[in-house]
Amino acid sequence: MIKNENISDEQFNQKVEKDLLAHLTVNQKRNNIFIFLLIAIVLVGMFAYYRQIRYGLIVTSMRDYTSWGVYISNFVFFVAISLVGSLISSMLKLSKATWSTPLTRISEIIAIAAIFCASIIIIVDMGRPDRFLNVVIYGRIQSPILWDVMIISTYLVISILLLYLSLIPDLALCRDKLTGVSGVRKWFYRVFSVNWKGSPEQYKILHSIIAMLSIVVLPIAFAIHTVTSWLFSTTWRPGWDSTNLGPYFVSGALMAGAAVIIVAMYFIRNVYNLKEYLTDKVFDHMGKLLVLLSLIYLYFNINEYLGPAFKMVGVEGEHIIELFVGKYAGMYWAVQILGLILPIVILSFAWGRKPLPMLIISMLALLGAWFKRFLIVIPSLQHPYLPIQDVDESYRHYIPTWEEWAITFASFAACLLIITFLLRVLPAIPIWEMKRGVEPKSQEA
């Protein structure tokens, strides 16, 4: 990470502390403009939601056939993004990849922000949000929605624990070292560092808890997106009625997660001046990881479409035609080529794994991931077994209204707002994990 390996551990650790705490005290005027912009977008979304509450879901473009729209596809997108947390702090950690250590905190913050937004969006989609508690009062365990509610809340709790526990030594450091921060923040650091002294015994406990959590979170993370896929695959809709859907969703989510962490680390590295920690080497590793995850996703994509496209059975065939050459062909091929094939090709070259090209490619992959979920949710609903007749013309099309877009953009803004806010008070990179010689030797091996 830091090139000069000749300096002593103590000097090294002092530098790490100074560098990584720096972004918590600098004056962030530019950051403020960004935050105001995000708040404005959220407010517009809240106004749109007020209209939806007042007039009902009629303000959306959803109707009896396309009964789920961008809210649900956006929900699936956020659930997908949230897998980034377990990808970095569980899968990479358990495989002892040390290069990903500086990414753990960012990934956990993104995961929490994404699950939070997913939960908000699913309530926005409800026709009767005032009856949300019915899910608890009258909950029926056989409904996949109940499974989803349970697994998402479990994942949220474990993600919060994972973020918080690995924060404790850094919060203690903020408590001890940060000067010139407001009284509220001082209080926050003091209370939430729970009397951390940094004794070897405390480190030992912390390490074993984090190790345990990073194992526990793994099946939960797989389950959260598999269960989300079951919301679709437990029905008979073309494109949903597939046993491939679980791994297809999970692999797509891991790919989107890798893309989102690349975008995040690009901006964090530049805005917070952390080039020494989020090095080109880290980008290179993440680029290779993204290629691998994209290849896996490509494999499941081929699995998902080849069979139905070969057989062309009934509505399943109509659905394939709609995607390949019909109304949604433009979007479909743009998503598959720009959002999946292109990342694989470009990131296979070393020049493609430099920060800037990776930012562009990852943004394309993310955009592709969002529209892919649109393509998974909406066209399927427009191909029922019995033909769409005897209804108003508006029931045949789905073009999201401004209210739906406003709420969707507000959810992105809210996600960014949560991330930005947390990065203002928490060190973006886990300082204690970056230091040398503080951890017990046995853990290093």
Binding site: Y55, G56, L57, I58, T60, M62, R63, D64, Y65, S67, W68, D125, M126, G127, R128, R131, F132, N134, V135, I137, Y138, G139, R140, Q142, S143, P144, I145, L146, V149, L231, F232, T234, T235, W236, R237, L381, P384, Y385, L386, P387, I388, Q389, D390, V391, D392, E393
Partner: protein, 301 residues
Amino acid sequence: MANKKNKHSRRQFFSKTVPVAIGTIGGVGLVAQSCQQANNDEEKISLLSADGQLVEVNKSALTKVPYKPVPPDEARKGIPGKHFVMVVDLARCRNARKCVKSCDHHHQLTPDRPFIKVLRMQDNKTSAPYWMPKKCFHCDNPPCVKVCPVGATYKRSDGLVLIDNERCIGCRFCMAACPYSARVFNWGEPKHQDGDRPYSPETSIPSQVGTVEKCDFCPDMLRQNKVPHCITACPNGALYFGDRNADSVTNGSETVRLSTLLKDKAGYRYHEELGTEPNVYYLPPVDRSFPFKEAPEGQPS
């Protein structure tokens, strides 16, 4: 609603009454037709009063007491011993749309979102098109009930699948799950609704914004030993309704054995391969009563 208070006592009063002149059966407390045709004040009706006296009452003084549908909790229990089925004779349907209209009227629906749809079906390019009236199939293995997270939609012992719109959270999972697209959603505030009526899942009235509804097989009629509105509305006798346990169905004019009807006319169900076990059977459009005619312009199709 001024007579709300004594509605109950009057109902009891009438239900004990023996010589009701009008000759309606089954309707609890249903007595006089209306004042308009009973200008003749002389016309008297004999009634048995609560204390056992036979009294004569002016016909014009009597008003129709509407049937009071059962509340949501009670609507979860089926009518004992019954299992309701519908049979649609495709050979007799000419898209007259009377069933749709009467259903819309009785469920207070606007024409843009009917419970019944009449679909123009054509199995392939060379086969003949036909009209298919489609309602809820009230499946015995209902996908909608399986996915509902709150038990707002449920299966009853008499085969009916109903919705409690006071419990529905509007997640629309049931709409995604139903392979027959039988369900409609109240995207906006429902129009033309009689909000004063107490809600019952057996009438699906009044509708509520943000909740799902669908064809309910008119259980309020079934409780009064009558058939659903669409059955009597069909001018061609295309729709049969009845009890599978009793093996009998009626289209309003003729009552036949269900098993014989299905056997003789090769009855079938849509998408048997999905395993949903529908309770709506179809008779193939052979030896048709009417030649197929395309829908007139302006009719949504």
